[in-house]
């Protein structure tokens, strides 16, 4: 097989970008979600409303912000308010999607970005902490998780449950007091596109990334996956997507 002419970051960006819908509101963090949102604004979702947690809403992502509070997060935006406003907007049910990452993910889409190892303090490895992730995972209608795929990241149980997915399974979010009808929708990884089974709320393989076999996905996942029937093939980044990404979205090659 010939080498693909894109790197794993570009694959993640393009895969995530296609999931962004026009005329929706989406919490966007730094890095891949920002690039994906910028690409989506130039393709299928010109009226995607990016919401950055510190107050930037509805920016036109001409230049890539390096930080979630940077002036580019409200460049030609619709409003520039503050974090209470953005989080309360999500709490009132106005934010459709939230894009998240993490160091670990479990079968229910719960995420860890706090500590690695069994002990909270002092920990083996201290990670940055929740940041806005817990709020996004709690309050947006749906989250889409973007993550690199390996047995180190896809674990049976997170060392620390920072951000809620479906917690312990069906009904668990509601039982915990989280708003009904919310939870993770997709997981976009370097190897696959996954969703969650309606009944069990466990992660389900929907499609493999180009050149990746189902066996590879299984081998790199530290828990049992459910399988869609049939399992689709996620299309490779198109020439057009890559051109826009490289020539317009990240012309300075800050990320890709």
């Amino acid at each position: 097989m010939s080498q693909p002419d894109y790197n794993p970051t570009e694959l993640l960006i393009c895969s995530a970008s296609r999931l962004m819908e026009d005329e929706t509101t989406a919490f966007i963090g730094t890095g891949i979600p920002m690039l994906a949102a910028s690409l989506a604004q130039r393709r299928q979702a010109p009226n995607l409303i990016p919401v950055f947690e510190f107050g930037g809403m509805g920016a036109i992502l001409d230049d890539l912000p390096m930080a979630v509070g940077e002036a580019r997060t409200f460049h030609r935006g619709l409003s520039a308010s503050g974090i209470c406003d953005t989080m309360e907007t999500a709490a009132r049910g106005f934010i459709d999607y939230g894009f998240l990452g993490g160091a670990q993910i479990d079968p229910f889409g719960n995420l860890n970005s706090t500590v690695i190892g069994p002990k909270h303090h002092p920990p083996k490895v201290r990670l940055p902490g929740s940041g806005g992730a817990n709020d996004v995972g709690s309050l947006c209608w749906h989250t889409i998780i973007i993550i690199r795929h390996s047995r180190r990241t896809f674990v049976p149980r997170c060392d620390f449950l920072t951000t809620p997915g479906y917690l312990t399974g069906p009904g668990a979010r509601e039982a915990a007091g989280l708003p009904p009808g919310t939870g993770p929708l997709y997981v976009v990884s370097t190897l696959a596109l996954m969703g969650f089974d309606d009944k069990t709320k466990r992660m389900k393989l929907l499609a493999t990334q180009p050149g990746v076999s189902v066996a590879q996905v299984v081998a790199e996942t530290g828990f049992e996956l459910l399988f869609a029937d049939p399992i689709q093939s996620n299309p490779a980044p198109s020439t057009e997507e890559l051109r826009i990404l490289r020539e317009e979205v990240d012309r300075q090659r800050l990320y890709i």
């Binding site: 706090t114 902490g129 989280l178």
Partner: protein, 324 residues
């Protein structure tokens, strides 16, 4: 109200609202000149063991001048509202943080914070209590509302709540579960703004972050400002004042006071300098060398600005976000 679950994190600062009211009662309403140097402001109002916070964060409208001065004066045993980037890195590297209400300390696009890792994994930071960014902002909001807690629908069902000092209760109106998060009253707050008058009325451009709530949650508030403007200028645009003077204890004139971070519409972030910290902080020795070069070897803000140099600052002004 029936408490269903209690987070096991320590309540690092008690939400004593009556005490806060009494404190605020004795703060002056006089329009007095509060201008002073960064040395004087930090010497007078920041003290060992105080509960302190910074607004907004490391690379965006952050009171970096004041942050460096706290290190320079060797203040220690700080209890800190931990939402930050490079500013809290400097404090962690300087070994002056004893306890953290931690929501996020990292380097955003540059990844995890090595200063945080060293300080927390070694146990040098004695207490770490978890929160989300929404939660810490709402904790400031509760303090600004004058109530000891606020109910939210974040953190529920997670270890973030288990390792916080939040409580889960049954809503007395609907019966649903809610997280109650305690008001966070800061002994001292540091905040950088676009312009202030000598009395402490402050205006900012762009997003407000958690500035509105934070300023109202502080017993002492030190302001640094890009520009000190006449009171008349504030009165021309009163709708832009997000911090009224009576909240403020000190006003420090600090042009480029957010460097190496940005100030919306004034200057952009200094990427090479931010990267310099990212690289230096990879090792403990590197971090110490950076603190020596950029803090301890420079007596004040002016000498810092001189060291950065006009040419470089000019480029940052050139690269600023513009209103189109």
């Amino acid at each position: 109200m029936n408490v269903i679950e209690s987070g096991m994190g320590e309540l690092i600062q008690t939400p004593d609202m009556n005490g806060f009211r009494e404190w605020n009662r004795q703060k002056t309403r006089k329009l007095v000149d509060k201008r002073m140097t960064d040395q004087e402001a930090v010497a007078r109002f920041v003290y060992d063991g105080c509960y302190i916070g910074t607004e907004l964060y490391g690379t965006v409208r952050c009171p970096m001048t004041l942050v460096r001065e706290v290190v320079r004066q060797g203040k220690k045993d700080l209890r800190v509202a931990g939402q930050g980037v490079t500013e809290l890195d400097l404090w962690l590297a300087a070994g002056i943080v004893k306890a953290l209400d931690l929501t996020y300390i990292g380097l955003e696009v540059y990844g995890t914070s090595n200063a945080l890792r060293r300080a927390v994994e070694s146990g040098q930071v004695e207490k770490v209590v978890e929160w989300s960014n929404g939660a810490i902002s709402w904790r400031f909001k509760a303090a600004s509302m004058g109530v000891p807690f606020i109910p939210v629908r974040s953190m529920l069902g997670t270890d973030t709540l288990r390792y916080s000092s939040a409580k889960v209760v049954e809503c007395p109106f609907t019966g649903e579960k809610l997280a109650l998060i305690p008001a966070l009253i800061l002994d001292v707050g540091l905040m950088h703004v676009h312009r202030a008058d000598m009395y402490g009325n402050c205006q900012v451009e762009g997003i407000t972050g958690f500035g509105v709530e934070f300023a109202r949650a502080c017993k002492r508030l030190i302001i640094s400002a890009e520009e000190i403007v006449p009171n008349d200028e504030i009165r021309r645009y009163p709708d832009r004042t997000i911090v009224p003077y009576y909240l403020v204890d000190a006003v420090v004139h600090a042009p480029y006071g957010s460097h190496p971070g940005e100030m919306a519409y004034v200057y952009c972030r200094d990427e090479p300098e931010i990267k310099a910290w990212v690289q230096a902080s990879e090792t403990a020795d590197g971090a110490q060398a950076y603190l020596k070069e950029w803090i301890h070897d420079l007596p004040d803000h002016e000498s810092y600005v001189r060291k950065v140099g006009e040419e470089r600052l000019g480029r940052l002004v050139e690269g600023r976000e513009r209103r189109e």
